[in-house]
Symmetry: C2
Subunit: 373 residues, 2 copies
């Protein structure tokens, strides 16, 4: 039977003197009417106020609550969904959004990724195996120096090169010059090797700047761009890229603020549902064992959520980054499977022979993918 309400699961950590019943009811009111009991008409109480469907202790200090909401509150708007999930609640404490179930009719109003896993594979000309992505950096280098790095990555036959998300429009490497030079470097290498390396520049700024940057990237021949949704705006992706036919890799900058262990949104919901619904074709997240404290379990949940069924919404590519060790890529392929992009940054830059290091990883990926198929 179709469930026609939006269902959000929370892990509640009530404060001193706060009852779990009160905490759950408070969320149901705060996220809808923003009024105390009795200060709204009866029809609103029945229709709009969230319903606490379930409330159970999971241990002595934590409770699991399921609250359901009328889909009218969201009405197919991504930002209304995010606001419903954690808008005002973000300013409270001890509320972790652990799961989200959307009715089919709500999902049907989101278009999601324009390319997704299939489309990104087509753009890179790869079937069946994981993709490897390098980051061109650091900020402060000139456009020519960054392009020279792109040239070496492409020479080695890597699938994707993305700008570091700190690269904006700094005087050391202004956007227009950087994108032109980097894409040219990649084009030349592709022409020499016959490979299909793709370069994705990072866009940053207000909407008019983003639109101008996206046009420049397209004119330069780029197949897609990098956007950090929490910086530029959570509902920018489709507006910016759909008519320009550009793929999008979402970068997690600033999103860590939403991922508190006791107060926030679980990474699988934020990256796996929200970023995917926003239209990102691939979603970068900090992999376990890297520079950020993400668990392997959380990462597997992100992967599953990005790839899993979600109405007609295309699956998006999980992009494991944040300090992936080039030597451990086979290890991660065995755990994450072929529909994964591995973003390798400093692990390449540590090598004196960058081209050789990339080639070794590309060979290891081919071999591991064959072995684990």
């Amino acid at each position: 039977m179709a469930d026609e309400r939006i269902r959000v699961t929370y892990r509640l950590t009530p404060g001193a003197g706060e009852s779990p019943e009160h905490k759950a009811r408070d969320i149901a009111l705060e996220q809808t009417v923003e009024l105390p009991e009795g200060c709204y008409p009866r029809a609103i109480a029945d229709r709009i106020v969230g319903r606490v469907e379930r409330l159970e202790p999971t241990n002595r200090r934590r409770w699991e609550a399921v609250i359901s909401y009328d889909p009218e509150i969201v009405s197919g708007e991504l930002l209304s969904l995010v606001n419903l999930l954690f808008g005002n609640t973000s300013m409270k404490a001890g509320v972790l959004v652990t799961d989200l179930a959307l009715p089919d009719a709500v999902v049907a109003r989101f278009r999601g990724p324009a390319f997704g896993i299939e489309g990104l594979r087509e753009r890179c000309g790869t079937r069946d195996r994981p993709l490897v992505c390098a980051a061109v950096k650091p900020v402060g280098l000139s456009a020519a120096e960054l392009a020279e790095r792109c040239s070496r990555f492409a020479e080695a036959g890597i699938d994707l090169i993305k700008d570091d998300h700190s690269l904006a429009n700094q005087p050391s490497a202004p956007f227009a010059e950087r994108v032109r030079r980097c894409q040219e470097a990649v084009d030349h290498a592709n022409a020499r090797t016959g490979a299909r390396t793709r370069y994705f520049p990072n866009l940053l700024g207000p909407p008019d700047a983003l639109a101008a940057q996206c046009d420049m990237a397209r004119a330069a021949g780029c197949a897609g761009v990098v956007l950090a949704p929490l910086l530029v705006g959570l509902d920018i992706v489709q507006w910016l890229t759909r008519e320009r036919n550009m793929a999008v890799l979402a970068h997690p900058a600033l999103s860590g603020a939403l991922l508190g262990p006791r107060h926030g949104i679980r990474p699988a919901v934020l990256y796996g549902d929200i970023f995917r619904l926003s239209g990102a074709d691939g979603v970068i997240y900090p992999n376990a064992g890297g520079r950020f404290p993400f668990s392997a379990k959380a990462c597997r949940a992100i992967n599953a959520r990005l790839r899993g069924p979600l109405g007609e919404v295309r699956p998006a590519f999980p992009i494991a980054g944040g300090g992936v060790d080039a030597e451990k890529v086979p290890y991660w392929i065995e755990r994450y499977g072929a529909d994964t992009i591995f973003l390798i940054g400093s692990s390449f830059y540590r090598q004196p022979d960058l081209v050789g290091a990339v080639r070794r990883v590309m060979e290891a990926v081919e071999l591991t993918a064959l072995r684990t198929r």
Copy 2:
């Protein structure tokens, strides 16, 4: 002497086995080059990598660090500044941004509020006293029902009426109809009473929807709008409103995620610097003693920061909300002073006589303002 570098102060809570020196250095690298020591050219090390200027214990488990950065990294871009402050660091733990000092040359590249305190006062026709703002709600009511509420607030001579930030484009009260009816209701009341109540609708959606909504609001006669920067995008305000000559009240939805007590950005920096630099003329924050756990000290710091000197950037109005009790407005005026807007929501809706309740607050504001001048 002018300090020509950006200086960020952090409170660090190192994890088990993590040295404060390592933690500070890690931030200096992560927020700039995103590479480990030695993986970048010497010129980048000198110029771009953050410099740990100071590192001192504040108690057994906490350290205060000051790290300075080359202004080139920001280059006058708000999103680069936010990214520098907390982009990748957001995904780590135990890093609280407690202060930010920008060189004059960096501040000079931000225009900030178009109206600010002075301009909002002019639009409302009030000098010298605090302003009072009501919230029209809840979601689920029809446009006619919401307009009827606006009518009563305006009848009572309130200064401002803002949409609840949950009001988007729901079928129960579609944006165009809601804004037209609410503004008409306010216009009629103003014509009867001679008051100058202003209605600010809430805008939500991707940039094209925001632009269309802003145009509709302007055509209806609204003097400004409400935007939640963390939902719509931190760098949307000026792009959207400057040429449309609309004032902006910033709503804090989702921003609570950034305000963790041990990991995040202090409210005075987020609301007082970032929201103000973004161009918000007034900034809504959850006041102490309301529904959200903000301290009076934090609120006074937000007020000071929104109003204090910041190059040529206009002061913005602090808007104390989130459960302000109508009866306690005089108490808060004595503490916060005249350059404050008090946003009163449920405290009005609790009263059987809404018009009478608003009139009593307006009289109390006049009297307290006279007494404390």
